[in-house]
Every structure is written in C-alpha cells, then in structure tokens.
Amino acid sequence: MTLRAPSAGAGAGRNWALLALLALASLAMAAPLLWTLLLSLKSNGDLLRSTRSAFSPPYTLQNYSDILGHSAVFGWLLNSTIVSLAVTLGVLALSSLAGYGFARLRFPGRAVLFIVLLFGLAIPEQSVIIARHQMFSALNLHNTYRGLILPGLAAPFGVFLMTQYFRATPRELEEAATLDGASRFKIFWRILLPLSLPAQATLGIFTFLSTWNDYWWPLISATDSDMYTLTVGVASSQMNFAQTNGLGYLMAQAVFASAPILIVYVIFQRYIVAGVSRAAT
C-alpha cells in the first residue's frame, strides 16, 4: 500500500482495530444490498413461506423476466432520465452564466443580489412546496415535464459554486482576450467555460443525483402514471393492500431500477469522485 496520508508509525494492534472497524462498516454497507439481491432471486411463493429461504437455493430469474415482460419500470426510468438530464443541463447553463456575471462583471446591485442569493441557499425546497404547488396549478404545469424540471432550476447552490469558481480563476487569460477585442460573451464561451469543466462536473453530478432522488415534488406534481418518475413509481407499487406482485418481484424491481444509475456510477466513478472532490475546495 502506498499511502498518501501518513499512516505508518503507530502500533500494529491499533491498525488491526481500525481495520476491523472498517471491515464492520463495509459489512453493514454491503449486507442490505446483498440481501436485496438474494430476495430478488427467489420465487414469491418461497418468500411468502419464509424469507429465510433466501439464504439457500433454488434461485430463479423469474422475477426479472416478469419485469421485462410487463413492467412500467421502463417508463419511470425514462421519465427520471429526461427530467434529471434536463434539470442538470439547465442548472449548468444558468449557473455558469450567472456565476460569470457575479464573479467578473460589475453592475449596479451586484452585492445586494448576491447576498439575497446566499439567503436563498437556506430556503428549503419543502418550505415553498405548498405555495409552488398552487402556483403550478394555476399555470397548468402539473403532469408535464416542464412542471417537473422548472423547480429544479431555481436552487441557488449552482450559482454560488460557479461564482466562487470563477472568482478563483486567474484573470490574465481574459485580459489578453479583451485586448484582442473579444466580446464578453465570447470570453465567457471560449475561455472561462472550458476552464470551468471540473466545477461543471461537480455541479452536474450533484444536480443529477438530487433530481434523480427527488420524491415529494413528483409525488404531488406527477400524479399521472405516464409521468411517474422512478421514485414515485416504485412507491406506487409498494404497500398495496392485499395481493401484489410479491416480495421477490418488488425486490427485483428495486435492483432493476437501480441498475442503470449504478452502472453509470461504476463507469464514471473516477470522474464522480474527482468531481465531488472539487466541490470542497
């Protein structure tokens, strides 16, 4: 092991204790996931008798083939993807523009507006949701993609992040371009935007994940099953009285619904880690 942070020195006993602690935490982390996977591979009948059967064969892929045949999961995944991507792209565009404006250009009211924005950071989504629901009702926006996407664009976090980032970027490059007579938008577009890629990645990941996991707003806005996002769709198929598709099927649905984003995560893990890392600096 080549450690970056110092670790050598202390006694081996302490190291073992720490390792054991880490192993325990990893187990706590992984066990629920494995349990879900096992349950999804059992027939509903077996599970109804006892979930303990999940620890031993026979296993089956029946639940998964049932999903492939008849499930609404695909629609939910599509909706979640459309909404999350649109919110992410929208936030990136709005935040970069505004971040550049706040960081580099002087205009009347800039300081006051930025302070208002900082206050905006502390406004929880949940505290405006009732009023927002009323507003969207009046505008006829419920059960549309617009209705799901627009609220996600309002969070000031992105503007704050991009402003900080642009402020920390050295001015020399821009000054050269200014002397060449480039317009402000051109400078932003050609020079600062490419430089801000790491911050964009960070913001994009944050935004995508939080939109993907949003629950309350789609629950009251996307009430038409055609517009269900993944969170709402999975909720609608749970906790139904009397007969349901069965536990194994539900668990398979959970695995199936999580698979795409987990795969994306595994592929982009390195960038996500790097991206999230940059947010802290």
């Binding site: 792209l89 990136l92 801000s196 964009q200 009430t223 038409d224 009285f241 009397a242 598709n245």
Partner: protein, 441 residues
C-alpha cells in the same frame, strides 16, 4: 467540451417548452381510471380471462383489460396509486386535473361530495340503466348523500374473523365442523387462553404496525355492539366513555397475556395467517379468496382447515359490525359528452361484473348478485351474507373518516402496547379528532 454540453441544454430547453403542448387526440376516447388494489402486471398484465383471475388485483386488472378489448372505441388508462391514494387525488383536484374515475371508500365520500369535488351520478347511472333500487341497503346508504347517489358501489366489506380450523381443532375449539366462538369479552379471553395453552401459538393475528385503520375498526365495531353513540354529533366524537375503556382494556389484556401476535404490519400479519402462526386473523373480506385457495393446497397450514365468520357479537347491545365499501366516483371536471358516455359505459360494465369482483370475498353491492345461486355457491358466502343486515358504517355526516381512523388507531396502539395509560390515550384521541373536525373549513 463544456460547449457541447451547453448546446444540448438549449435544445433540451426548447424541447421541454414544446412537450407541454399535447396534440389534439383522435381515435379512441381515453378515460383515466385511478385505483388502488395493487399492481400485478407480472401475472395478469395482458390477461382478459376474468374468471381465471384471483384476488382484488388480478380481478380488477383483467376486468379493465377485458373492457378495453371489448370496447375498441374506448381506451381506459389505469393509474395505480399507493393505497389509499387520497393524497394523490387531493393533489390532482387542487391541480385541476383529476382522473375520470376513481376508487373511493364510501366512508370518505362525504369529504368530497360536500365540497362538490365529485359529481352526483344519478343522471350518469340512469343513462346506462343502473338503478339504485338494485343496490343493497348497505351499499345504497354508503353512496347516497343528501338524496343524491355520488358513487357506483362496488362492494361492502367488513373486518371478519378468518379462522384456522386446524389449529382451533387442536385447541378443542371446533364443534360440528364449525369454530367455537366467543359471545362475550370474557369468553374471548378464556378461549384465547385455552387456544394458546394447547397450541403454543397466539390466538389472534393482528396487523397493528403502520396500519392506519385496523385498530380503529375493532373499536368502532365493539362500540356499536355496546350501543355507544360515540358520534351523536358528527362534528364531535366522544371516546372518554366506559364503553371505549372496556374495549381498550380487552385488547390490552389480550396483548399483555401474549394471546396475539405483536408488532406485525399488514404484510406480516397476512403471511402469518397463511403460515399457520395463529388461530384468528381479523382482516377484511378481501382475503377470503386468497385463503380459500391456500386451504385447497396440500401442505399448506390452512389445508382443509379454513373458514371465515363475521365479527362475533362480544357485547350484549346488538349484533353489528363496522363496515365500509369500495365505490367508484367521478371527480368534477369539464368533460365532453362523448367522454362522459364512455365513463358511463365503464360504470355499467363494472356493475355487470360485480359477481366477478365478489369472488375476492367482498360482499356484492347488488341485491340480485347476493340472491344469485352462483354467488351463494362460492365458499363461506352463507356465513358472510349475514353482513347484509349487520353491516354499519359511521354516520354519513362524519368527515375525514380516514384521518380519524388513523388518529384513533395510533392512540389505541399506544394504549395497548402500554406506552400510555388507557384514559390518556382516549382523551388524546378524542381531543385530536375533535380538533381536526373543529378546524375543518
């Protein structure tokens, strides 16, 4: 690189702006039907074979599939909601875009009818020849408000005692093939003790955890059986009464003596009865079909030993069981005559298939079905048919009955599990319910 990210952003924004406008539709009339009863597309997703389907979810799914197949000019789109779906319906009504046909418990119709959020259906039903005179008494009372019919009744249901005869026999509680049941609270305790001594298993299986209504339904039944008029004024409940105290004491004692399962939620309790973990499961009519199926399978703990009876009369007042019913309502909205006609045809179809629905175990909402030989030929229906006379809902004027049930169930649970003294739980329940009703708009 970020530039090619921003380009699509603009395109996406434009797309989003466009997707809001839906093209004018042609072809079949689409009706949106919103229901609970669960999702079972894996098993019944495309089946139209209604008689082969089992259970609430299977039967309603195949019924709608069949209606769609038989009526190519109508397309019924189904919204399945998290039970009971009223939060979602409220959000939809507030948004001004309610679905066209919605499942509704008869006990909550008042909430919506008084606010004109659902339509009186007299004319719609008449247009397809559905006559309220054909409803059972319970169903007619359940869907009528201020002289108008606000819903198409689908069934009447009540909490029943589902009995594992195999275990009861082992406890010496079967006579002439029928379970020996209590006629008083004391007998209930005695028989439960006898059962638990003999089998080592709890007498009762109860869904308590996270169950918004089960405990409250027990309380309502037991209060009605004592002729306690706890809702004399529909805007004020009275729970600080000797009658209510008696009921809570009974259920607390049952728990304290280990005569009931503990800490089970609905799913766990339902499975526990199937797995033979107790003698009597108090749950609604909807489980009859499922448990009957299990009793036909060799190897099942219920094999050859399942029956079901209405809630026994435990108090000397009168023989009565708290009941409710499922029904179909049409939320108020602007609709074309064509669409309304399509909804009416679907209503007629649902009424005509009430027998199929009653195979779930629910009591039919139509007298002709109850009188029919084929319904009587279904298992256990003779026992259950008594509900036609003994089923009683709360007074129709009581609003927010679901929230009330939830409050009462919560408070009862904390009394039964010993977290609160019975008296303060009843006082808290009474205060919370009355606060709710007082602050209605």
């Amino acid at each position: 690189m970020i530039r090619w990210l921003l380009g699509p952003a603009v395109v996406a924004a434009a797309l989003v702006a466009v997707t809001g406008c839906k093209p004018a539709s042609r072809g079949p009339v689409q009706i949106t039907l919103q229901r609970f009863f669960g999702a079972c597309d894996a098993e019944f997703g495309s089946s139209t074979d209604v008689p082969a389907a089992e259970g609430e979810c299977g039967i309603i799914t195949t019924l709608i599939n069949k209606f769609n197949a038989d009526n190519p000019d109508i397309r019924v789109k189904v919204n399945i909601v998290y039970w009971p779906g009223y939060d979602q319906l409220s959000a939809e009504l507030a948004a001004g875009h309610p679905p066209d046909l919605v499942t509704m418990h008869e006990s909550v119709i008042s909430d919506y009818s008084q606010r004109h959020l659902i339509m009186p259906l007299d004319a719609v039903l008449a247009s397809v020849g559905v006559d309220p005179a054909g409803f059972t008494r319970a169903a007619r009372e359940g869907v009528t408000r201020d002289g108008s019919v606000y819903a198409l009744p689908f069934d009447t249901w009540a909490p029943l005692w589902h009995v594992n005869l195999n275990l009861m026999r082992a406890a010496g509680l079967v006579r002439d093939g029928a379970p020996v049941l209590p006629h008083s609270a004391e007998e209930l305790l005695q028989q439960a003790r006898q059962f638990t001594r003999a089998t080592g298993k709890p007498y009762l299986i109860q869904s308590i955890v996270n169950d918004p209504a089960a405990s409250a339904r027990n309380l309502f039944t037991c209060l009605m059986q004592q002729n306690s008029d706890f809702f004399a004024d529909p805007r004020r409940i009275r729970l600080q009464t000797p009658e209510a105290r008696r009921v809570l004491q009974l259920f607390k004692q049952i728990r304290d003596e280990g005569l009931t399962t503990r800490d089970q939620d609905y799913t766990a309790a339902t499975a526990a009865f199937l797995n033979g973990q107790g003698g009597v499961y108090i749950v609604g009519t909807w489980m009859i079909g499922t448990y009957e199926q299990a009793s036909l399978q060799t190897g099942s703990p219920l094999a050859g030993g399942y029956t079901v009876v209405p809630f026994p009369q435990l108090y000397s007042g009168r023989d009565v069981t708290y009941a409710d019913g499922h029904s179909w309502v049409i939320p108020t909205a602007k609709r074309s005559a064509q669409k309304t006609a399509a909804i009416a045809r679907l209503l007629r179809f649902l009424r005509d298939n009430d027998f199929q629905w009653s195979r779930t175990g629910h009591l039919p909402a139509y007298q002709d079905v109850i009188d029919s030989a084929r319904w009587r030929a279904l298992p256990h229906r003779t026992e259950v048919a008594r509900l036609v006379d003994t089923a009683a809902p709360l007074p129709a004027g009581v609003q927010r009955q679901f929230t009330i049930q939830q409050i009462i169930s919560e408070e009862m649970e904390s009394a039964i599990t010993g977290q609160k003294p019975i008296d303060s739980a009843l006082a808290d329940a009474e205060r919370r319910v009355n606060d709710l009703l007082f602050n209605l708009l």
